[in-house]
């Protein structure tokens, strides 16, 4: 469904992605892991058209999209829930969802989608008329996901949906993601909660400084020492003095 070949993205003169290739098949939940600044978010931004790929190709649903504007890519059936949620703080919850469904011109389709989102996240219905900026972090995340679901995307890009949330809310969000996956939405997920993310993912890519280092299923990645050390908290104990080379 989504295929990146040799994608390179720059921020000014700084190269953020060094030839990233990855593939997401229809119905899969694929997870990108990596340290802060490895370029995980950049991959999503490049795919959804916020950042521009300088080199390489991106294919979505059989169409080349690397030169398209963000809003045209959305039309093809891809929704991106950006890092830090980015709800419209001065608009109400309902208006935010209305914006999520901006491309829907049919009134009945719109109200049925709205009902779907409300039944998935009942708290949004309660807060219907409230300004999105006044919601809690968890509610904002639900709104951000709900907003993206208004268009019934074929592919959903989720960037750190659990960022800054309490443990209970984190599991709630993961339940939602699992549920979406089960209902047939293809998902590309960026997460810092590596353990939880890998458990629900079909396939994972490990990214370091803009390059894909490893890829595989949870079982395969779990066996890799580097993954264990870096992300799963099973690394070996290193004497601090040795880190300083003394």
């Amino acid at each position: 469904m989504l295929k990146l070949i040799g994608v390179e993205t720059f921020y000014g003169k700084i190269k953020a992605l060094h030839g990233v290739s990855l593939e997401v098949l229809e119905g899969q939940l694929v997870c990108i892991l990596g340290a802060n600044g490895a370029g995980k978010s950049t991959i999503l931004k490049t795919v959804s058209g916020i950042a521009e790929a300088e080199y390489g190709s991106i294919e979505f649903d059989g169409q080349r999209i690397e030169r398209m504007d963000a809003d045209d890519i959305v039309r093809l059936g891809m929704s991106h829930v950006p890092e830090n949620r980015h709800v419209f703080p001065e608009l109400t919850v309902r208006e935010n969802l209305q914006m999520g469904g901006f491309l829907i011109t049919n009134g009945t389709t719109f109200s049925s989608r709205l009902e779907e989102v409300y039944s998935r996240f009942p708290v949004l219905k309660e807060r219907d008329r409230q300004l999105a900026g006044t919601l809690s972090g968890g509610e904002q995340q639900m709104l951000a996901i709900g907003r993206a679901l208004m268009l019934k995307p074929k592919l959903l890009l989720l960037d750190e949906p659990s960022l800054g949330l309490s443990p209970i809310l984190v599991s709630e969000i993961f339940e939602t993601i699992k549920d979406l996956h089960r209902s047939g939405v293809t998902i590309l997920l960026v997460e810092q909660n590596v353990n939880q993310a890998l458990q629900i993912a079909d396939y994972g890519y490990v990214l370091t400084s803009g390059k894909i280092l490893l890829s595989g299923t949870y079982e395969e990645l779990k066996k890799e020492d580097r993954v264990k050390e870096m992300y799963l908290g099973e690394g070996k104990y290193v004497r601090r003095s040795r880190l300083w080379g003394t």
Partner: protein, 308 residues
């Protein structure tokens, strides 16, 4: 008191009318600023161009084609709005598109250059002399008891109220209006919703040009047609700042307050005290400084809360 009252009432109405024009200009650049973060220094010149174009159409319809008085004015207004749509598209193409993500300073210089170029081009085409545009109302006045109010002023106020209401409905109730607000708040997220951000920017420029043109059409019969009338746009700046820069109701409130203050000071201070004759040109700025000393964000401005 009895003698003072009719004069004061007339001045307030006339001040509100002038304020409505400030408000329309302030509304235009508040809108552009909110949506695209560009401070458009050419907003006053857009108004000037609008007034000239309207004058041009009026002379065509009235003199060359020999239409009646009212049909000419209405047709000219429609034609001018048509022109401002095209002009707005052109400005978006010429200024906004190439410079959108460039440093703010480039953008400011570009809008100032546009202002100067427009003034020069209009002077070149229309000639540097001041023109006297016809008013559909002539010098007629409406009398309410002892108070005589110029029909033109009433018409200006009425038009501004209608225009602002239309704008309010578009901005708050329609799909495209909400998309404009969403783009103003977070252009990246708006793009991710499938909102065509570039089209929204273009619409904002079109809208700001239309508002400026209507402001010019309304102002021209009150003052005279002059290539320097765009400098009035500079007074719409303090209006926007006074109301709270970036706030749309603020632009309107600020505009009306400044209009009233200016007109009343002209009728009282300048009239009675000859040694401060030019006070009405200065008082706007004095009021601005006083208000900002008490409330630095302006009357309806929101205090920025930095989130950590």
């Amino acid at each position: 008191m009895n003698e003072l009252f009719p004069g004061l009432a007339q001045e307030i109405v006339s001040g509100v009318a002038l304020g409505c024009i400030y408000a329309l200009i302030a509304l235009g650049f508040t809108l552009i600023f909110k949506a695209t973060e560009v401070v458009n220094f050419a907003q006053g010149e857009l108004m000037m161009v609008g007034a000239y174009v309207n004058f041009f159409f009026i002379t065509i319809f009235l003199d060359s084609l020999g239409f009646g008085n009212w049909p000419s004015f209405i047709l000219a207004l429609i034609a001018s709005i048509g022109f401002s749509v095209l002009f707005g598209v052109f400005l978006d193409f010429a200024i906004n598109k190439p410079l959108k993500d460039e440093p703010v300073f480039s953008m400011i210089m570009a809008t100032i250059s546009v202002a100067i170029i427009l003034r020069a081009v209009v002077a070149l085409i229309a000639g540097p002399i001041t023109l006297v545009p016809p008013s559909p109302f002539g010098n007629s006045v409406i009398r309410l008891g002892s108070v005589a109010i110029s029909t033109l002023d009433l018409f200006i106020i009425l038009s501004a109220v209608i225009l602002v209401s239309i704008f309010y409905i578009i901005f708050n109730k329609t799909r495209w209006g909400l998309a404009m607000q969403a783009t103003a708040e977070d252009p990246m997220a708006a793009g991710l919703m499938g909102i065509p951000v570039k089209k929204v920017y273009r619409n904002v420029w079109i809208f700001a040009t239309i508002v400026a043109t209507i402001g010019g059409v309304l102002l021209a019969p009150r003052t005279l047609l002059d290539t320097n009338m765009g400098f009035l746009g500079l007074k719409a700046f303090p209006a926007a700042v006074l109301g709270g820069f970036g706030s749309i109701p603020g632009a309107i409130v600020g505009g009306v307050i400044l209009g009233v203050v200016e007109t009343i000071s002209m009728g009282t201070l300048s009239f009675h005290f000859h040694w401060i004759k030019e006070i009405n040109d200065v008082i706007v700025w004095i009021v601005l400084i006083l208000v900002l000393m008490i409330r630095p964000v302006g009357i309806l401005g929101k205090e920025e809360v930095e989130r950590v």
